[in-house]
């Protein structure tokens, strides 16, 4: 399918970087122990201890973008219901079929580290992986923040578990935590996070230099390589490119007329197909609620307590009201004309409250929202014609409001 927006020059470097990352994981370069982790895990600690973090979520997204129905079906044959998270099904299915899966099913972990700050599903998923691979699993339990405040006992609980995680890693990876090294990794992580936030912030420009699909594609290093010099170098390159586009007035979407906010994880199997419906009518997604999950620096001070604050405070660990407020805030900051919500069958924390959030956001901003149901990774849940009709009607309504 033809692209409706200019290709990023940084794309080549991104591909090289991610191939190298997966190559390291599969080749166990330098004999480093490999830990499979969730996207909300405190990866800085692992990197500081020379444990190589690998992300089954990222792997599942890559597989999904290439078509992962056979992997879903492999998990379903084991008894996992089609109603369960498709990332989990892809990952479990890939582990089951091993060498026949993309990247040989991501190889084999030495350790598993899961953090429930994004959902409870990752815990069940990683329990299944722990059983399959017979490797140790550490659960970092980060209490949900129903009132959006981090109370003292939750902070002490998580900081204490981070101490436990250090000792657990020291025992299993036969490495000591070097505090100076941790400080270096945290500095790199913070620099990466700041660059990523600034890149996203550049989309406040009119026209926007990047669109959300660009961010979806380029977010892999902020997830997988946070805390490395390679991630910093990549995001400096991307930042320069986006900044140059702003200076030159280059837009992600030719003839930008409408600016939109995206809510939820991408629809990886149809990412270009789905988003191509918008540029045709001059609609550009300039902000989103997903790629901003990695936009909080680790504060200065005692590092484990600072890490505890950061990983407790991520977007999805907050109340629905907070998430709706954040959306309204983004709509204001990025001057959005509307928002599109993907009710993602695979992600209940992101999706169950969306009908309510849609009303809250529209009440707060006055802009309309489209809500439709699909799935981030299982294309069988994508109703092509129905979604196209809803998108068409939404864009026509935006046209009507503009005229």
């Amino acid at each position: 399918m033809a692209r409706n927006y200019p290709r990023l020059e940084s794309g080549g470097e991104l591909t090289r970087l991610m191939i190298e990352h997966y190559g390291q994981a599969l080749g166990r370069q330098g004999g480093l122990p490999v830990a499979w982790v969730t996207s909300g895990a405190p990866v800085e600690l692992l990197r500081a201890m020379d444990v190589l973090p690998v992300y089954p979520e990222n792997y599942a997204a890559v597989c999904a973008s290439q078509g992962a129905v056979p992997l879903c079906e492999a998990a379903e044959r084991l008894g996992y219901s089609r109603d369960l998270c498709a990332y989990a099904r892809i990952s479990i299915g890939a582990a089951a079929i091993g060498d026949d899966a993309p990247f040989a099913g991501l190889g084999r972990p030495d350790l598993l580290v899961a953090c429930n700050n994004i959902c409870g599903t990752v815990v069940k998923w990683f329990q299944a992986l722990a059983q399959r691979f017979a490797v140790p699993l550490f659960i970092l339990d980060t209490p949900f923040l129903p009132d959006d405040t981090i109370n003292e006992h939750a902070l002490a609980y998580v900081a204490g578990q981070l101490e436990d995680l250090v000792r657990w890693l020291e025992r299993r990876a036969a490495r000591r935590l070097d505090r100076a090294r941790l400080a270096d990794v945290l500095a790199l992580s913070n620099e990466t996070v700041a660059l990523w936030r600034d890149i996203r912030g550049l989309c406040r420009a009119h026209p926007s230099p990047l669109s959300v699909p660009d961010l979806f594609v380029t977010m892999a290093p902020i997830v997988s390589l946070r805390g490395t010099p390679e991630a910093v170098a990549f995001y400096r390159m991307l930042h320069s490119e986006a900044e140059q586009r702003v200076r030159q007035g280059v837009s992600a979407v030719a003839g930008e007329r409408f600016r939109l906010l995206w809510d939820n994880i991408a629809i990886w199997p149809r990412i270009y197909h789905f988003f191509s419906q918008f540029p045709r009518r001059g609609a550009c997604f300039v902000a989103d609620t997903y790629t901003g999950a990695w936009d909080t620096e680790v504060e200065a001070g005692e590092p484990l307590e600072a890490l505890a604050r950061t990983y407790l405070g991520i977007f999805l660990n907050h109340s629905l009201a907070h998430r709706a407020e954040r959306m309204a805030q983004l709509i204001g900051e990025y001057a959005c004309d509307g928002f599109v919500m993907h009710a993602n069958r695979s992600c209940k924390p992101f999706s169950l409250g969306q009908p309510v959030a849609r009303r809250l956001v529209t009440d707060a901003t006055g802009v309309p929202g489209l809500l439709f149901e699909a799935d981030m990774a299982d294309p069988r849940a994508y109703a092509e014609e129905a979604i196209a009709a809803r998108v068409q009607a939404f864009l026509e309504a935006l046209d009507g409001r503009a005229s």
Binding site: S81, G120, P146, L320, G353
Partner: protein, 369 residues
Amino acid sequence: MSAGIGVLGALQEAALRPLPALAAGSLAGVACSYTPLELLHAAGLVPLRLRAPGLPAPAAEAWLPSFACPLIRGVLGAALTGRLDALAAVILPHTCDSMQELAGIWRALRPAPPLLTFVEPLSLEGPRAPAYLRQELLSLAGRLEHLGRPVAAEALARSIVLYNRLRRAVQRIDSLRDRLAAAEAWAAIAAAWQMPPEHYLSLAEALIAELEARPPRPAQGPAVILAGSVLDEPLIPELIDALGGRVVGDDLCNGTRDAITLAAESGDPWAALADRLLARPACPAKHAPGAPYAARLANLAARRGAQGVIQVLVKFCDPHGFEAVPAGQALAASGTARLFLEVEAVNAPEQLRTRLQAFLEMLSAPADT
């Protein structure tokens, strides 16, 4: 009608009614067995389980996607009709992603009643979980006090004793299932969640006395365990009765799962409450690697001499959906048959009947045929 049947009838009626006939201002709605009932009772409240009793919930339809579980759909539906407005409070523990989101949705749509969240640990065996949970219980007590419902340690200690007695009564009814039909046992146990504990105890202890005086029913028909999350209506046990099966044990959220573990009656009552919640048989939403759910089901089936386990999966329940796989493996390894029965908000009895009939017939068939 004997006195015993009258008692049982009262329990059956209580298990099925949406709200007891009490002053609503003293009721606290709870939606999960991880709610610290003793704490609510010590605050002068009557904990009442919010049921999602197999009915459509039209008021909730506009506010939930199609893949929301029937439990939160039913509870939200009841809340949005205003039927729960007069409750003194609703307590929603953070058991799973769906329960987490229910709190936010409810809060946004309906100002009454006051919603209190309670974030218990997910990782139950972690060394830091008891201290965290004790503080979280104190935090909940602080919020109850803010509602004019202070909790004194002495009152909490008394409520612990009362609920221990209630749980012993549930355990005893569970052990006397051979004198009850499956639907009767379901109601006698589920009613513990639907009425004031003192009232339940008076009925349950009378029922126990009655049952102890009765001979067991003839042990005919295949023996099964009923497992799953919440079973809010008696349809499945009624069908099992009608098809000649026997339920010899359960692992249900509103069954015996929460009744197995008692709290310490001496020492710090806050720590006792925390320790009980962490030690009780875990919901599949939790991480408890030392006591896996799958092995628990297989052991229960073996201990009770069950030939099969009927695992009821509430549609879109992720924790139970994931655990269905290791549970199936563990049951197969122990030679126990398993019927995996997915249920929705509203179920067609004939479909359930057909599947249960096939399963029970298979269990009844001689092994060599």
